[in-house]
C-alpha cells in the first residue's frame, strides 16, 4: 500500500472513531432539526406517503417519539418547554408531529413543495428497511449514514488538497485535520439532516473544479462537477453559492485561455459579486428565500427596497448575526445551544483575526500577482485558489443577505449554512495560518496546527459537552 493510502486510511479511521464519539455523546434528537428530518424520512419510507401539510395533520408521529424525548430529557437539555397536555402534563398535546416538535422548538417542518427532498428520498429506503427496529435504533443507524458521508467528505478533502498542491502532503493534512477536529462539523454532519449530504455534494463539486483547473478539462470531469452542482442545488439552498462560483470559474478559465487583460477580469468579477449580492437580497424580498429556487416555486411577495438598511437597529442586527455566526461555527451545537467558547471567546476571535490577516498576506503574495513571470504558484493553482476565494465571498453573501433583506434574525445564520464551503475555508484557513509561521519554524507548522485543534476539540467534548449533557 502506498504512503498516500496509508495516510488516508489513518485519517478515515480517525474520522470514523471521532464521528462515533460525537454520535454517542449527543443524545437522539439533540441536533439541528433532526426530529423534523427524521419524521419526513419516516413518512416517506415507512408510511409510504409524501410529507405534505395534510399528511402531517392526519398521520400520527411514531408512537415512541414522545417517550424517547422524555427518556433522553431532550426538552430539558435543549431548554425548550415541552408541548404538554394541560390535563395530563406527562403526555403531549396529541400524537401529531406537527403539534409536537415544530411549534415549541422553532424547528422546521419538512414539507413537500416548500423544502427540497433529495436527501429524504435517498434515506427513505433505509427507513423502510429498519421499520421494525426500535425508534432510537433507527435514528442511530441513520446517523451512521451521515458519518459515512462525512468520511467521504474528508476523503474528498484529502484528494482536493493533493490536486491543488501535488507532491506536498502538508496541505492535505492541514485541510483534513481541520475537517476532522472541528467539533461543529462532527456534530452537525453526523446527525440526521440534509446538511451532511449537501456538504458532501458541494465538496465533490469543489473536487471536480480543482481537477478541471489543475489537471486539464475532460468530459468526465465536467460531468462530475455538473452532476455535483445540480444535485447540491436540489438538495439544499445553502448550496446556491456555487452557482455564482461556477460563473467565476468560467470567467477565470476563459481569461486564462484567451489572455484577457487583468482589468477586464477584475471588472467582470466585481460585476458578478455585485449581481450576486443584490440578486440575493431581491430573492429574499420576493420569496421565502433560496428554497424557492431549490423547489422551483414561483415568486409571490412584493419587492420592498425602501427599508432603512443602515439605522442603529439594522447595525445591531448585523453585529448580532456576525457574532452568532462566529459562535455557532466554533460551538453552540445547534439545538443543544451549548456555548463552548465562553471565556476563551475573545482569544479565539483574535486568533481567527490574526489567521485572517495571514490569509490576506497569502492572497497578496501568491494570488494577486497573476500576470508576473516569477510566481511561486503555477497559473493553474492561482486560478483555482482565486475561484475558491470567490466561493467564500459568495457563501458569506448567501448567509448574510437574508438578514439584510429581511432585517431580522429569522435566518440565523447558523454556521452549518457555511459548512458547504468547508473545503475552501479549511484550505484558506490553513494557508493563512501557515503565513504566520516564521521560515525557521516551518517544521512545526503541522504539529502546532494539530495540537491547537486537538486541544480545542478535547476541551469541547471533554470539558463542555459531556458535563453539560450528562450532568
Amino acid at each position: 500500500m502506498s504512503h498516500n493510502f496509508k495516510f488516508l486510511a489513518l485519517l478515515v479511521s480517525l474520522t470514523l472513531v471521532r464521528g462515533l464519539i460525537y454520535i454517542a455523546i449527543f443524545p437522539p434528537w439533540l441536533a439541528p432539526d433532526e426530529p423534523a428530518h427524521f419524521e419526513a424520512i419516516r413518512l416517506m419510507g415507512q408510511e409510504g406517503v409524501w410529507p405534505t401539510q395534510a399528511i402531517y395533520l392526519t398521520t400520527p408521529m411514531h408512537p415512541d417519539m414522545h417517550t424517547s424525548f422524555q427518556s433522553f430529557q431532550i426538552w430539558q437539555l435543549s431548554g425548550y418547554a415541552p408541548p404538554q397536555d394541560a390535563l395530563n402534563p406527562h403526555e403531549p398535546v396529541n400524537n401529531l408531529f406537527i403539534y409536537y416538535y415544530p411549534p415549541t422548538s422553532t424547528g422546521s417542518l419538512i414539507i413537500a413543495g416548500n423544502y427540497p427532498l433529495v436527501y429524504h428520498v435517498l434515506m427513505a429506503p433505509l427507513s423502510a428497511l429498519v421499520k421494525n427496529f426500535p425508534l432510537v435504533q433507527q435514528l442511530y443507524l441513520m446517523r451512521l449514514v451521515s458519518l459515512l458521508f462525512t468520511t467521504l467528505t474528508v476523503i474528498l478533502g484529502w484528494f482536493f488538497a493533493q490536486t491543488i498542491f501535488p507532491g506536498n502532503k502538508v496541505y492535505a493534512f492541514g485541510l483534513t485535520i481541520f475537517l476532522i477536529f472541528l467539533p461543529m462539523n462532527l456534530h452537525v454532519n453526523t446527525s440526521v439532516n440534509s446538511d451532511v449530504f449537501v456538504v458532501f455534494l458541494v465538496s465533490l463539486y469543489f473536487f471536480g473544479l480543482a481537477k478541471l483547473f489543475c489537471e486539464g478539462v475532460s468530459l468526465s470531469k465536467i460531468g462530475l462537477t455538473a452532476v455535483a452542482l445540480g444535485l447540491a442545488i436540489m438538495t439544499k439552498p445553502t448550496a446556491l453559492f456555487i452557482i455564482p462560483t461556477t460563473f467565476v470559474a468560467l470567467i477565470v478559465y476563459l481569461a486564462r485561455r484567451f489572455y484577457w487583460k487583468p482589468l477586464l477580469l477584475t471588472g467582470l468579477l466585481v460585476i458578478i459579486v455585485v449581481l450576486t449580492f443584490s440578486g440575493s437580497i431581491v430573492l429574499f424580498q420576493v420569496t421565502e428565500g433560496g428554497r424557492a429556487i431549490s423547489t422551483l416555486q414561483s415568486f409571490s411577495q412584493p419587492l420592498n427596497l425602501q427599508k432603512n438598511y443602515f439605522g442603529p437597529s439594522s447595525w445591531a442586527i448585523y453585529l448580532h448575526t456576525i457574532r452568532w455566526g462566529f459562535l455557532s461555527f466554533w460551538g453552540l451545537f445547534g439545538w443543544a445551544n451549548i456555548p463552548i467558547l465562553r471565556t476563551g471567546m475573545r482569544a479565539v476571535w483574535l486568533i481567527c483575526l490574526v489567521i485572517g490577516f495571514g490569509g490576506l498576506l497569502f492572497i497578496k503574495k501568491y494570488i494577486l500577482p497573476m500576470g508576473q513571470s516569477q510566481r511561486p504558484l503555477s497559473s493553474n493553482q492561482q486560478d483555482i485558489l482565486l475561484v475558491l476565494l470567490f466561493s467564500l465571498i459568495f457563501i458569506l453573501i448567501s448567509m448574510y443577505t437574508p438578514i439584510i433583506a429581511t432585517q431580522s434574525t429569522h435566518w440565523g445564520p447558523p454556521s452549518r449554512y457555511f459548512f458547504p464551503a468547508l473545503l475552501p475555508f479549511s484550505l484558506y484557513f490553513f494557508l493563512g495560518y501557515q503565513q504566520l509561521i516564521p521560515a525557521r519554524f516551518y517544521s512545526l507548522t503541522l504539529p502546532i496546527w494539530l495540537a491547537a485543534l486537538l486541544l480545542f476539540d478535547t476541551f469541547a467534548w471533554g470539558y463542555v459537552l459531556i458535563p453539560r449533557l450528562y450532568g
Partner: protein, 255 residues
C-alpha cells in the same frame, strides 16, 4: 529592513483589529443566563415575608458541591438576606447545608452559585433546595426564575406565598418592579406542576464519577452504545489513532 516594515504593519493590524473587536464585541454576555435556558424564563416567583420556594431533585453523581439558580433581583442596595437550605426532603427539619447570602450579591438572570463541601455519597440520592428571603418588605424585589410547566422529571417545585403582613405593603411599586406584585397576587398558591431553573455541579472522586458517567452515557442507548465498555474502547482506539497521527505528522513535516 523590509522584514521589519512588515512586522510593524502586522502588529498595527493586530492592534487595530483588537480595537475593532473590542468595539463591536467587547461586551460579552454571560452565557449562564436565562437567555440560554429559555425553558426557565417564563415564570418568576416572588420572595418576601415568609414566602418560600422549594425544588426537589436527584443528584446523578457523587460529590454534589454546587447548585446554580436564576434570580431576578431589582433591589440594588438593601440589606436583605436570602437563605438557602439544602435538605434530604423538603419537609425535613434538619438542613444538610444552610447558606445565607446578601441579596445585593445576586445578579439578575445570571446563574447564582451556591457552593458547599462536596457530598461524597450524593449519587442517586434525592435532595430538596429551599429558598427564602429574610425580607420585611413587599418590594424586596427578588424573584426566582421557573418554568411554566413540568420540565424536570425527577422532582418538582412548590411555592408558598407570603402570609404575614409586611410593613410597607402599600408602597407604590416602581415601574420596573410592577411585575413582581402581580406575580404574587395572581399566584398565591401554585396548583400546576412546575420547576425552578437550576443546575447541579459535582466534585466527587474521579473513579466513582467516571463509573457513573459511563453508566449515564450508555443509558437508554441501543446496541454497543448501550454498553459502558464501548466508550472505554472508543477512547482507547481514539488515543491510539491520535498517537499514530502525531508520529505521521512529525514525519511528513520533516520530509
Amino acid at each position: 529592513m523590509r522584514k521589519k516594515h512588515w512586522s510593524i504593519i502586522i502588529l498595527l493590524l493586530i492592534i487595530a483589529s483588537g480595537s475593532v473587536y473590542q468595539l463591536l464585541w467587547g461586551r460579552i454576555s454571560n452565557f449562564d443566563t436565562v437567555y440560554y435556558s429559555p425553558l426557565y424564563s417564563t415564570d418568576i416567583y416572588f420572595l418576601a415575608g415568609d414566602a418560600q420556594i422549594t425544588q426537589e431533585f436527584e443528584a446523578e453523581y457523587p460529590g454534589l458541591s454546587r447548585i446554580e439558580l436564576y434570580f431576578e433581583n431589582q433591589a440594588n442596595n438593601n440589606s436583605n438576606e436570602v437563605v438557602f437550605h439544602l435538605k434530604q426532603q423538603c419537609d425535613a427539619a434538619e438542613d444538610i447545608e444552610t447558606l445565607t447570602v446578601k441579596q445585593v450579591s445576586i445578579v439578575s438572570k445570571q446563574a447564582f452559585p451556591l457552593t458547599f463541601s462536596p457530598l461524597d455519597d450524593s449519587a442517586g440520592r434525592r435532595y430538596c433546595i429551599v429558598v427564602e428571603s429574610k425580607s420585611g418588605e413587599v418590594n424586596s424585589s427578588l424573584g426566582v426564575y421557573a418554568s411554566g410547566v413540568d420540565t424536570y422529571p425527577r422532582g418538582s417545585a412548590t411555592y408558598k406565598s407570603n402570609t404575614i403582613a409586611l410593613p410597607n405593603s402599600s408602597a407604590v411599586a416602581l415601574t420596573n418592579q410592577i411585575w413582581l406584585p402581580i406575580v404574587q397576587k395572581t399566584q398565591p398558591v401554585v396548583q400546576h406542576p412546575f420547576d425552578i431553573g437550576f443546575k447541579l455541579y459535582y466534585n466527587g472522586k474521579t473513579g466513582a464519577t467516571l463509573q457513573t458517567l459511563l453508566r449515564q452515557l450508555a443509558t437508554y442507548k441501543p446496541g454497543p452504545l448501550g454498553q459502558p465498555m464501548f466508550y472505554i474502547f472508543l477512547l482507547l482506539l481514539y488515543g491510539g489513532l491520535i498517537a499514530i497521527l502525531w508520529v505521521v505528522i512529525l514525519k511528513v513535516q520533516k520530509n
